[in-house]
Each structure stands twice: as structure tokens, then as C-alpha cells.
């Protein structure tokens, strides 16, 4: 069953920018996909379309076999609850502790306090931060902060994780840790979509890679196929 499906999707902004052109792709449930491409290639638009922050100019987008093109405003929050978002800049709330930051995401969707008290420690354990629950974001390293971001994305048990350059602000040595974590989450059945610039990571983790260039999908390796670098050829193309 496919998790995400794009059928002839194009997005042209009001100012005439053609951000996405005629994209066709399918991501199965349980897949781990890297999305690469230089800045301005249309990766952000791709994510915005997925999150329903923008709607496509033409074509059809399906998530969980459901067309999301013209969801009513009211329905968008419920779609978002099926996905967890990890941001490059972490987006943690400074005045809240690690625990509170994660609990906040559950709170916001109306979870019962009893469930929050059970679930948050479990998720913090999963990302290896149970000992930091009472720390504030400013007391953590970049890698740890991003793990909090990951915990927050996971806590509502989404079927899809969208990670927008999650290692962009993390020490390179710790980047692998983050992707390792994402892999582990992937093993538990969650579909992962990770946008990245980092060639090393993509090469090391040997997963499906979708390359976007000028709004079009220019390369797409299937999951089990050989290393990415061969397809992409030159490294600069991603940056």
C-alpha cells in the first residue's frame, strides 16, 4: 500500500515561479526515502504540498490513499496528526523543559494527561534522553536538541515522519546518530521522508534517493538498488 502518491503534480506560485513540475512518485508504507536537491530545487514546496500548507496547481496528491489536494481547512489538522515533522532548526520551545516540549505536542491534539504521563517517558527513552527530561533546550547539544525534536514528532505515533534537513544544524559526527535513530524508527514500521544536503549520509545509509532538480524528479533509486553516488554522479549537484 502506498503511503504517498504524487500524480502529475505541478505547483506554480502566484509570482509565476514553477516550483514543482509534473512530478510522479510513489512511496510505500514503511519506506525510508532521502530527498536530495540543490536549494531552490523545489524540496520545500514538495514538503509544503505534503503538509497541505500549499495545494498543487494541478495533479493529485494522495496520502494513505486519500486525496489531499483540496482538503477543507478544518480537516488539515487531522491530516497533520498522521505525520510527524522534524525541523532543521529544531523548533523547541525555550521556556519548556525537554519533557514539556514533547508533552506539548500531545497536549495540543487533546491527549489525556494520563496518556501523556505514560507516553512521553517512553518516547524519551526511545531517543535516549530520559536522563535529560528536566533540562531546558539551551542546556542541550545540537544533537540532543534534534533528538527532542524527533521525540516530539514521534510522540503522537504518526505513520509518516517528515524530516526537513534534520542534521543541518547538528555536529557532523552526530548526524549519523540522528539518521540511525530515524532508521530504527523506520524498522518499527514508520515511513520516513528525509530531505538532506549531506552526501555522506545518503551514501552511508544506502536507501532510496529521490533527487529533485528544477522542480522535477531527475533521479529515483528504488530501495534495494545500488549506491546512490553512481546515479547522482557529481556531488555538487546536490548543493
Amino acid at each position: 500500500m502506498s503511503m504517498i502518491e504524487f500524480k502529475n503534480v505541478s505547483k506554480t506560485y502566484g509570482n509565476g515561479t514553477k516550483a514543482i513540475q509534473n512530478v510522479n512518485l510513489q512511496v510505500e508504507k514503511g519506506e525510508f526515502v532521502f530527498i536530495v536537491g540543490s536549494s531552490g530545487a523545489g524540496k520545500s514546496t514538495f514538503l509544503k504540498l505534503l503538509m497541505c500548507e500549499e495545494s498543487p496547481s494541478s495533479g493529485e496528491i494522495l496520502i494513505n490513499n486519500r486525496v489531499i489536494n483540496n482538503l477543507k481547512r478544518k480537516e488539515i489538522p487531522y491530516l497533520r496528526r498522521t505525520m510527524g515533522i522534524v525541523f532543521q532548526d529544531f523548533r523547541l520551545i525555550e521556556r519548556m523543559t525537554v519533557y514539556e516540549n514533547v508533552a506539548f505536542a500531545m497536549h495540543v491534539v487533546g491527549a489525556a494527561p494520563r496518556d501523556i504521563r505514560k507516553r512521553v517517558p517512553y518516547i524519551l527513552g526511545l531517543v535516549g534522553l530520559q536522563s535529560k527530561a528536566k533540562c531546558y533546550p539551551s542546556e542541550l547539544s545540537g544533537g540532543e536538541q534534534q533528538r527532542v525534536g524527533l521525540a516530539r514528532a514521534l510522540v503522537n505515533n504518526p505513520s509518516l515522519i517528515i524530516a526537513d534537513e534534520p542534521t543541518g544544524n547538528v555536529d557532523p559526527a552526530l548526524s549519523f546518530e540522528i539518521v540511525d535513530l530515524l532508521s530504527e524508527i523506520n524498522h518499527r514500521g514508520t515511513t520516513i521522508l528525509m530531505v538532506t544536503h549531506e552526501h555522506n549520509l545518503v551514501k552511508h545509509f544506502n536507501r532510496r534517493v529521490i533527487q529533485i532538480h528544477h522542480g522535477e524528479v531527475v533521479a529515483d533509486t528504488e530501495q534495494s538498488k545500488p549506491a546512490v553516488a553512481e546515479y547522482i554522479g557529481d556531488q555538487e549537484g546536490w548543493k
Binding site: S44, L47, K48, M51, E53, R73, K74, P77, Y78, L79, R80, R81, G84, I85, F87, Q88, R91, I93, F104, A105, H107, V108, V109, G110, A112, P113, R152, A153, N156, D164
Partner: protein, 307 residues
Amino acid sequence: MKIMKMHNAKYLIREGFHNLWTNRTMTLASVAVLISCLLLTGAAMLFSQNMGTAMKKLEGSNSITVYLDEDMPVLEAVQVGETLRSIENVKDCSYVSKDEALESMMELLGDDGTVLQGLSGDDNFLPDSYDISMKDLTKYDETIKEIKAVDGVSQITDYSDVADKLTRIDNLVATAGMWIVLLLGIVSLFIIANTIRVTMFSRRMEISIMKSVGATNWFVRLPFVVEGVMIGLIAGILASGLLFLMYHLMAGVITGILSFFTPVGLSQLVVPYTLGFVLAGMAFGALGSMISIGRFLNREGENSIEA
């Protein structure tokens, strides 16, 4: 929207208070402007209400005193009375002798009335009179004309002038009050909206996180609406307290000058005015915050992914 759960309500109220406190300068400004708006509205309404009762009293205690020619013999006075009673629109017509008139005047003046004591008996400067009340006040002017035409009537005190003036003042106060209140209302809405916007701006990351994890717009909105409603609630309570204090003091001063004037009692005003103020304040607060949230959610809420 789903039914608000209890723990959510608690969260919302806590957030509302938190926002008020973090943002206290603006909160104070909003409360102050809203108070002045409510106070002016209240003052205008109280004025109008008192005018209303005063005029009703004027009409009720009625009406016209018809003075007879001086030193008219009693028999003739009785005849004049008969003629007056025969006028179509006259309901009651009672004879007030000059002595009675003096007494009631002394009563009206209270302590100051004692100066009139020397004028009793033959020194009484007041003429005999009839107190007349009418059946139909719309025919007031014609009836006055008929009464004036009766032989032996020297003068009529007619309150229509006074009533006219009072009505005119009342209308003036009402119109001017309405405009001022309208203007201040807009100003307070604007200031409340801005106060909420400041909070929202400082919370913009939280809002974007909330939206990205799937909070409904209502959930995002409500803490700010609560903030606005609380501004209104505080302003409403303070404004009614202030209004009653001022009213109490003013009423004291005015009754000191005009002893016959009895202001509308505080006790019957407290409940409707407080309730009205609090509700109006809360409505204003909610409206003000809704204005800025609507704009904010449309403009800034939708960019969790940077371009």
C-alpha cells in the same frame, strides 16, 4: 469542534493568565482604555436614566399650577374652578389656598424654608391657585390655551419649557455620548487587538509548532481569546466599581444642591450595570482578539517549512 475537555479548559485558562502577565504593559493599556469606554457609556446611561425619572416625576406630580388673580374673593375662585373643570381635557383640578402653597414651598426648601415663616398670614405673597392635571398630555398646548382664556386666571406655571429643555439636554448627552463611546469602542478594540498581536508574535514559534503537529485552529486561537476575555472581565469589574463610586459621590453633591432631586438608587443599578459592563467588556475582548488572530492565522500560521 470537539467538545472541550476539562484538562484543556484548565490549560487554556492558565495560558490566558500567563499571557496577560507576560504582556502586562499592554494588558494595562487595554484595560485602561476599555475602562474609560465603559465608564463613559455608563455615565451617559446613568444620566439619561436619572433624567428620565426626573421628568416622569415632573409629569406625574403634574403639571400645571394655575394662579388666580390676586385677592380674588373665595366665591369667584370657586367659579373659576368650575370653569376650569369644565374644560374637556382637565382630569383633576384641586384648590390650593395661598396658605397651603406657602407651606408646601417651605417644605420643599427644607431648612432654608424657615426664612419664609415671616411671610405667613396677610404677608403671604402667593396667590390662590388650582393644581390641574390633564387626561391627555398630547393635547397639552391647546389645553393651556383654553385655561389661559378663563377669566380670573393670572398666570400658569407650565413645566413644558423645563421638560423641553431637559429632553434636549438628555438628547444632546445621548448623542454626544454615543459618538464618544463609539470612538472609544473602536480605540479599545484596536488596542486589545494589538495587545493580543504582541502576545501572538512572541508565541509565533509555538503557534507554528502547534499547527505542524495538528492542533485545530480553535485550539490555537482559544488561549488568545481567553486573554482578550480576561482583559474585558477585569475592565468590566473595575469600571463598574469606579462608576458606582463616582455616582455615589455625584449624587451626594447634587442632592445637596437640589434637595427635591432624588437620584435613582444605587442598589437597583448595581446588578444590571455590573452585569452589562462585564458582558460588554468580555465581548469586546473576545472580538478584539478574534480580529488579530484571524489575521495572524491566515498570514503567519502557515509557514512551518521555510522556503
